[in-house]
Amino acid sequence: MKISKKQNLNIFGLIKLYVPLVAPLIILTILSNGLNLFIPKIISKSIDSYGVGGFNVLNIVIEFSTVSIGVFVLGYLQSILQTYVSEKVAKDLRTKLIEKISKKEYSFIQKISSSKILTNLTADVDSVKIFISQAISSMVSSVFLIFGVGIILFLMDWKLALSIIGVVPITITIFFLIFGKIKRLFKKAQEAIDWLNKVINESILGSAIIRLLNGQQQEYLKFLEANKEAKDIGLSIVKLFASLIPFMGFMVNIATLVILVFGGHFVVLGHMSIGDFSAFNNYLLILIFPVVMLGFISNMIAQAGASYSRICEILDSEDILQWGAKEFDFSDNIELNNISLRIDNKEILKNISFKINKNSKTAIIGPTAAGKTQLFYLLSGLIRPTGGEIRYDGISVYDYNKASFYKQIGFVFQDSIIFNITVRENIAFSNNINEQDLYKAIDTAELKDFIDSLENKLDTVITERGSNLSGGQKQRITLARALAINPKILFLDDFTARIDNKTEQKILENIKKNYPNITLISITQKISPIKDYDQIILLMEGDILMIGKHEDLLAKSSEYVQIYNSQKSINNYELHS
């Protein structure tokens, strides 16, 4: 298990998965490089043939052109293949990441933050891509040349070859010393990008309040700090590379000097021919390019390695989400038994127990930060309690088949989440919504007039974050979305906060009429609509103070009375109207 994890973290392990594509790429690289070596041969042959008087222009042109075009075709094929492989790897990585993320629970996304996920899916995948597209073939040809030339040199004169190769361990040591540092820096660099993303993100999402509070300068300073960090890391990386790359060139130069001194010495002593000596020199020239190339590639490998390990942090994280296989068909009740919830050592809910019967109406009321919304998340299965179990029809939520569970429950969140798709797609967001259910939901949410006023009616595209809609319009759309699945249970979180009283009353009547058997659980601030509810749960600082009907609470709970009194004036007006 541990071994496989380690392999996974190594960027070269990734290549293994693409052997059928990478192997032809390597073959093409070698072929096009190899074919290129024929050109000097043709030239020397034609010069020789001139010497013996058999110079034939046409033959040479044909031969030369054939090889050149061959190199061109192979070279371009190689580059097409390498683009294809790298893009495929990028696409697959993204798909894998998204698949993994979609198996995660809501709290996971919250924890790692959307800005990091965004960097993972874009910048990180990109550097892996660059590695595949540029590093593999360069590396293959570099290593190929270095080894090839190395072997030839040894065959020619092993003593001299040894003295040159002596510089190799030094190079490798320094290379790895710097390389290790660079890899850490690249990881930090990507983290700096996460940070930048976060600041940009907040400045975009909070653009209205920034403008109202004249906070532009403050935002700029925040950005400056993150950007400066990114710059400083960048400068440290530059520093390391500035020492690495010229150093590799220097080592090659030192090798030249070694040949000059020792080789020259051997020639003078008569141990070596002058021809071999010049050949040694020429081969060394061939060595220069791949060595320098390796320096550049090391940059990519370091960056891609850092990015890939960031990606693997997500890919290798454990799946926590396990849902069962039981079909859900709500027929009896919802039961909470000693439910508690802690988040970051803070007790949000303490030993909550209550029961909700089918076809009943339940309201959860309580002051701000009483834990109402967290209770809502628990009921929806989005988060898991730290103690106790939530049972639907006597069975734990997570024993149900997820799809069948969510098919029967409509959720309306407090923050009206709207997608950048058409009104129709926003409302018929769940699968398999038929037209009849769609229109019933629209009518119930009092959206008909609004939709009719739109230019393209239901097919009007809503802008990102619903910025072209009013708060109430957004809330009604999210209600329609929940109703469109024809739910057996409807959860509302502070749903009426932004809807005017007249519309609210109409909507509540509509629900009663159009969805007569619905089990309703409503988190609310207003008492007047919940007076006739079957039970009202009064929640305060994570504790249930009392459960009962409106009259019971009014009689026994001073806190409830206080809430009721604070709303008296509304009730007066509403009674008159």
Binding site: A242, K346, Q473
Partner: protein, 587 residues
């Protein structure tokens, strides 16, 4: 002004020429002129050393080895060693200087874009996607960084060595030299022909990356709805579509980027063929020697090899030009909220806000108001009621100059609101938004956001200030008081709590006009009473504008306006309720 940025290049104008965009690129290095010059000199030095070393080595071979005068070798070794060291040092500094130049340019460019984002009005953000903007600021600037970090350096080397070798060839054998250089002209023409195409393909690929980022951003932020509506398939499908688009666009741009290298290789071979044939022709006519021809091949190689390297550099240039184009699109936008000179100034105006014949429509969307007129007196409390979508928030946004009216004038304390600087205006207006937004940081940092006056206070002093303003009770529920940490998109605090913080934030600014846009919608009614008391204790001169659905929050208003695609004065509470109950919603 329309702030919508292009997200697909089909609408793109094609009149841009290459030199113009390269000019843009070089504009960025203006401030780095001295460093770039220094790096250029170092490159020159390096290139000269590279050209001199082979000559020295062949001399060393001729003199010391062939003639067996090995003692002279040490002088050569000494000279070479010095040259190598110089080359090592100059190489180091050249890389470091250029690398730093790239980093600094990237740093400045990011700052510039972010600054521009801060300058632009709200309309810009409503019209563009967060993910796309992030992609522009990060990914696109990073593409530019790659250019400066890798390509820029090679640019110089290539120019120095090709010009040097080219001149050398022409001097050695003018005719053969010229003919050998002829294919280079072909390179220039092909490059010119292909560049625009390559750049456009890169532009498309960057656009698809931007679109994908926008999609990821949206899905991540809306994850819980995707989850409970069991639409992970939707999420996957949407993402896969964007992923596929990006895949296709990237393959296209990759293939076009890679075309330069094989073409340059082919041209280089063509040059060799020409030299071979013409060289042998010259030899036959006794004008050339075999030895010189072999030497000439080396020069041809020296000339075309860097040019081939230039090929890969060139695709980076094209990518960065495409990135620059997307960035420039933002940089070229101008805020339409300019500060103008006021025509008339009424001293000691009775009114804090006056709307005179104001009409408004969003850049994208229907008209909201036609010709509305009303005035708000200083120190009074006003309520705006009306059905959802009737334009209450828009009216309030106009008062705070989040937008400018399409026509008509808004007067703030006797002067056109447009004549106030950002500083003056925001100091006078406190606005609690419908959807509260908190920044990552502590509660204290969030409360003091944009509030220079209190920024200097220590935690204890700050708590005292809260106490003095009767605000202390409001934060007692937070785990760690004013030091409680907040992360912007998590649920670690509730919507109601966010509204409380936004409320404190606005009150502490001591605004002349306080606008509450359903600012307490998610706060329980008991706490709401508390907030009401705090509002009532504000200075007598503070004008309050309250938008609310809960009628109790507005019952104490001096005047109630009914807003529904227009604005009507409702006499009293009862009339307002009647209007609300009877009038048809227009939206």
């Amino acid at each position: 002004m329309n702030y919508t940025l292009k997200t697909s290049s089909s609408e793109k104008s094609k009149n841009k020429n290459l030199s113009l965009s390269i000019g843009k690129l070089f504009n960025l290095i203006k401030t780095e002129k001295r460093n770039v010059f220094l790096a250029f000199m170092l490159t020159m030095l390096n290139s000269i050393i590279t050209l001199v070393v082979p000559i020295l080595i062949s001399k060393a071979i001729d003199i010391c080895i062939v003639n067996k005068q090995f003692n002279g070798m040490f002088l050569f070794i000494f000279i070479l060693m010095i040259l190598f060291l110089i080359s090592l040092i100059s190489g180091y500094f050249q890389t470091i200087i250029m690398g730093n130049v790239g980093r600094r340019i990237l740093f400045n460019l990011r700052n510039e874009i972010f600054n521009k984002l801060q300058e632009l009005p709200l309309a810009f953000f409503n019209q563009n996607k967060a993910g796309d903007l992030i992609s522009r600021i990060n990914n696109d600037t990073d593409k530019l960084n790659q250019f400066f970090a890798q390509a820029f350096n090679q640019f110089f080397e290539v120019i120095v060595s090709t010009v040097g070798v080219g001149a050398f060839m022409i001097i050695v054998k003018p005719k053969l030299g010229l003919i050998a250089l002829l294919p280079a002209l072909l390179v220039v023409i092909i490059t010119k022909l292909l560049s625009e195409w390559v750049k456009n393909r890169n532009l498309k690929s960057l656009e698809s990356l931007g679109n994908m980022s926008a999609e990821i951003q949206e899905s991540m932020d809306n994850f819980k709805v995707v989850e409970v509506f069991n639409r992970l398939d939707y999420f996957n499908k949407r993402f896969n579509d964007f992923n596929n688009d990006n895949y296709k666009a990237s393959i296209k741009s990759g293939i076009s980027n890679n075309i330069f290298n094989p073409i340059y290789g082919l041209v280089s071979n063509l040059a060799q063929l020409i030299v071979l044939c013409y060289g042998i022709f010259l030899i036959i006519h006794g004008q050339f020697t075999v030895g010189l021809l072999i030497g000439f091949f080396l020069y041809v190689d020296r000339f075309y090899a860097p040019l081939r390297r230039f090929a890969s550099v060139w695709s980076t240039v094209q990518t960065s030009l495409a990135a620059l184009e997307r960035i420039s699109e933002i940089l070229l936008l101008k805020s339409n909220l300019e500060v103008i000179q006021a025509d008339t100034i009424t001293e000691n105006s009775k009114y804090i806000i006056e709307f005179k014949n104001v009409s408004f429509r969003y850049d994208v969307g229907n008209s909201i108001f036609e010709n509305i007129n009303f005035s708000l007196e200083k120190g009074k409390t006003y309520a705006l009621v009306g059905p959802t979508g009737g334009g209450k928030t828009t009216t309030a946004s106009l008062m705070a100059r989040l937008y400018d009216p399409t026509s008509g004038e808004i007067i703030l304390d006797g002067k056109n609101i447009k004549s106030y600087t950002k500083d003056e205006r925001t100091k006078r207006i406190g606005f609690i938004l419908q959807e509260p937004f908190l920044f990552t940081g502590t509660i204290k940092e969030n409360i003091l956001y944009g509030n220079e006056e209190y920024l200097k206070y220590s935690d204890d002093d700050f708590i005292k200030i809260l106490k003095d303003n009767n605000l202390e009770d409001l934060i007692k529920d937070f785990e760690n008081g004013i030091s409680t940490k907040i992360t912007y998109n998590t649920d670690n605090i509730s919507l109601g709590q966010k509204q409380i913080i936004a409320f404190i934030r606005a009150i502490l600014r001591n605004p002349e006009i306080l606008i509450l846009d359903e600012a307490t919608a998610n706060i329980d009614t008991v706490t709401e009473k508390l907030l009401e008391d705090i509002i009532n204790k504000l200075p007598k001169t503070t004008t309050k504008v309250i938008i609310a659905h809960r009628l109790n929050t507005i019952e104490n208003a001096d005047q109630i306006f009914f807003v529904n695609s227009g604005i009507t004065l409702a006499g009293n509470m009862k009339e307002a309720v009647n209007m609300l109950m009877s009038k048809e919603r227009k939206s």
